[in-house]
């Protein structure tokens, strides 16, 4: 079976989700082609096809258009089908030609499944799968469903009309998609992110006990508003009253405006001695730092699922997270971690103090619960198995 995966860039070495999925498919005799805008020079897992040029000088774009037009002559069947599909759906001629150019790299191939790695990737390519005689699959991530449609209402109408199967990283996102118009008859499969088995070997022997006034808290989060680091830092300010020497580590970067936002907040709250911004760290360094912390904190306004929280649990950390979106499936409240109301620094601070002051046995129990649940339900091998099922299923 041949799978065409549409993603914006080829996955980096550290992106376990796509890499492991591709490896798993290849090992099981599938053929995988990646359709993408950018191809990293060191990527060699599978065949890649680059999308046509849309920026740069007009001359080069025009030249490319001629090249693309010529190439499509050898795939006239697909092109005619695509034209008819768009025409019968009421698209204007200019839009049809524009889309034909933008999707030409896919139209010239034949696959069994055309899988859009992000729902937003499918916008503008909704009819391509049908034109090349493939089934259309779409993956839901947090941003696709939680944020993008707020700004662009009805952006998925054509996706819903054409999609054959949905992959979501959480049940929550599927429910939200129903609200956005996804038909309930469309089959879906929940395949969450997973962690590499190697991670369990790196679990440190750090005790879950907190020394006198010492407390180390950690978050892995891009410095993006959706992570609500304002609440995180205001929580730290409140905790400072009880733990004056506490250390808060933020792993993740952002653009200059985002960085200045949180650095200024640290400055205004007088937390310079308590907060360390690590910006971007390697996956190994991230795991090491998370593994050394007493509490893992995730204050996000929303999450599709949140891989970072899953890894923190795999490392046996005591996780305190917002009671939102996919996090409710990621953490079992009171059992593998704790969920509290989002955007409430005092609620987060109180919960962290409560957790820190729990009897040692209770902390160890939660930590063990978290590790064993991840070991049982969120492994890469299980993720791979689910993807095989996803494409093989006769639904």
């Amino acid at each position: 079976m041949r799978i065409g995966l549409v993603i914006p860039t080829t996955p980096k070495y550290s992106e376990t989700f796509f890499n492991s999925k591709i490896k798993g498919l290849l090992e099981n005799g599938f053929e995988v082609i990646i359709f993408t805008q950018t191809i990293a020079s060191d990527f060699n897992l599978c065949k890649t096809v680059k999308s046509p040029r849309v920026s740069g000088s007009r001359f080069l774009v025009a030249l490319n258009m001629i090249k693309v037009g010529f190439k499509l002559l050898f795939h006239l069947n697909n092109v005619i089908k695509y034209y008819k599909l768009l025409k019968s759906s009421g698209f204007a001629l200019t839009t049809i030609f524009k889309r034909m150019y933008l999707n030409s790299h896919i139209l010239s191939h034949s696959v069994d499944w055309l899988h859009f790695g992000f729902a937003t990737q499918a916008i503008g390519s909704e009819y391509v799968a049908k034109a090349i005689g493939a089934k259309m699959a779409v993956s839901f991530r947090g941003f696709d469903i939680n944020v993008y449609p707020l700004k662009y209402e009805n952006c998925y109408l054509d996706v819903w009309k054409n999609v054959d199967k949905v992959h979501s990283i959480s049940q929550y996102l599927v429910e939200q998609a129903y609200g956005l118009g996804l038909k309930k008859v469309i089959p879906f499969s929940i395949i969450t992110p997973a962690v590499d088995d190697q991670i369990f070997k790196t679990i440190t022997s750090k005790q879950n006990s907190v020394g006198q006034n010492q407390l180390t808290i950690c978050s892995v989060a891009r410095l993006n508003w959706i992570k609500d680091l304002t609440t995180a830092l205001e929580t730290i300010q409140l905790l400072k009253k009880t733990y004056p020497n506490l250390q808060y580590h933020i792993i993740g970067d952002g653009d200059i405006k985002e960085r200045e936002r949180y650095l200024f907040l640290v400055n205004q709250l007088g937390l310079e001695d308590n907060v360390v911004f690590h910006r971007k760290l390697s996956h190994n360094d991230t795991l090491e730092l998370v593994g050394k912390s007493d509490i893992y904190l995730q204050t996000s306004l929303n999450e599709g699922f949140c891989n970072a929280v899953l890894e923190a649990q795999a490392l046996g950390r005591l996780c305190v997270a917002s009671d939102v979106g996919g996090l409710k499936e990621n953490i079992i409240d009171g059992k593998t971690g704790w969920l509290v109301r989002s955007q409430q620094p005092n609620v987060f601070a109180n919960k962290i103090i409560e957790v820190v002051q729990l009897p040692e046995a209770k902390k160890i129990a939660v930590s063990n619960n978290a590790v064993s649940r991840v070991q049982k339900n969120f492994t890469l091998s299980y993720q791979n198995f689910k993807f095989l099922q996803f494409y093989n299923c006769k639904e």
């Binding site: 707020l150 959706i226 205004q268």
Partner: protein, 397 residues
């Protein structure tokens, strides 16, 4: 009789801020004014002002063309050959940053101004050559974010400013609060730093507008969707207002399309309570002010907020956070209302207090606010203050 001055206003583009346009218009009556910018699309040229095009930032060919004009104009002058050589080098490297610097310096060499008034801290890199050679008197305006925030979160920027500040002849601070920030960068007995408040053109509003208490409390904020504006706190305050069943509507002008704000509004189910619009022309903003109940400035830091001056002049009551220079404008319960920064609960509580305030108390606030801005924020005062600053810089020369 004081001499007529040649003043260069350098804002980076031709689209100077409305408040600086007021100064330009006013100073232009007595002095020779030039506006230098990397943008040749002037929408509303001010009469009598010379606009000097330094080339378009995004178009290298245009930059080159402008450089060539400067080179030819100077070809038979003393530095003509040297300029020509520099130009050839820059052209071969296609160095747009170098070309921009070149054009800026050549424009100044042609004008030979008494004062170069730089409008933003971020433009200082263009002035490095003239700062080092001390060829002109540079006056720097100190407004907001670039001094309130950046040097205090970016060590490199702080070091850079500490190196450049002593070379600058004079400073214009938009408030005493920002002057204090400036002193954290550099202070000296010989430092000239004058607080000059923005001036409002009162001729359009000879007196404060009529004000009626409306059934639905109309809350208004005006400003770009930057985190420094603190709209996230105000949206949380709106959630509290809704919970307390206050009949209100909140309009944010100029923040349309911001993902964070859209998300928060939807997440908190405030779609029927909050409207975000695109930026609007000044005339429409003033009309909105006339139709609103309260201007809210939830900012985290400000040099001074011109929108507060405008609201006070028009007669719209103001609720602001205690952010920098705004407390020089607003005294709590006298000329407006104040709350701490980063405090959604206080914002909500103060709005609820305002909602129950009798009309005579509101009118008292409005009258005091108008008196305050009439006294400190009129164009005549602003113009004289700028003249004084320029002459002081020349005296010290």
């Amino acid at each position: 009789m004081k001499p007529k001055l040649k003043i260069v206003i350098f804002d980076g583009s031709f689209k100077t801020r409305p408040f600086i346009n007021n100064v330009i218009k006013s100073l232009g009556k007595k002095h020779k004014l030039y506006v230098l910018g990397f943008d040749n699309s002037v929408i509303n040229k001010i009469e009598g002002v010379t606009y000097v095009d330094l080339g378009t930032q995004s178009n290298k060919l245009n930059l080159l063309k402008r450089s060539l004009v400067f080179v030819f104009n100077n070809l038979f002058k003393k530095s003509g050959i040297k300029d020509f050589q520099t130009f050839i080098k820059l052209m071969l490297r296609f160095d747009s940053s170098g070309l921009k610097h070149f054009n800026f310096n050549k424009a100044l060499a042609q004008i030979k101004p008494d004062i170069v008034h730089v409008q933003w801290l971020s433009l200082l890199p263009y002035c490095e050559t003239i700062l080092n050679s001390k060829s002109y008197n540079i006056v720097l305006s100190q407004l907001g974010y670039q001094l309130n925030v950046r040097p205090f979160v970016d060590a490199e920027n702080e070091i850079y400013l500490k190196r450049q500040y002593p070379k600058i002849r004079g400073f214009h601070s938009v408030s005493h609060a920002i002057k204090e920030k400036s002193n954290l960068i550099y202070t000296s007995l010989s430092k000239i730093d004058k607080v000059i408040y923005s001036g409002f053109n009162f001729s359009r509003f000879p007196s404060i507008c009529l004000y009626e208490k409306q059934e639905t409390l109309q809350l208004l904020s005006v400003g770009r969707p930057h985190w420094i504006k603190g709209y996230d706190y105000m949206i949380k305050a709106c959630e509290d207002l809704k919970k307390n069943q206050i009949d209100f509507h909140y309009t944010i002008v100029g923040a349309r399309g911001n993902e964070e704000l859209i998300y928060m509004i939807n997440d908190l189910n405030l779609q029927d309570y909050i409207t975000i619009t695109h930026s609007l022309p000044q005339k429409e903003v003033y009309q909105l002010m006339i139709n609103s109940s309260l201007l809210v400035l939830p900012s985290l830091a400000e040099g001074i907020a011109n929108v507060v001056i405008e609201a006070m002049a028009i007669g719209l009551p103001v609720l602001s956070t205690r952010c920098g220079g705004v407390i020089e404008l607003v005294t709590d319960n006298e000329t407006g209302l104040l709350v701490p920064i980063r405090d959604a609960n206080s914002l909500s509580k103060k709005i609820q207090d305002f909602h129950t305030l009798p009309l005579d108390k509101i009118n008292a606030l409005r009258v005091s606010a108008r008196e305050k801005v009439e006294k400190n924020h009129n164009i005549e005062k602003m113009t004289t203050d700028f003249e004084d600053l320029y002459y002081k810089c020349l005296q010290n020369d």
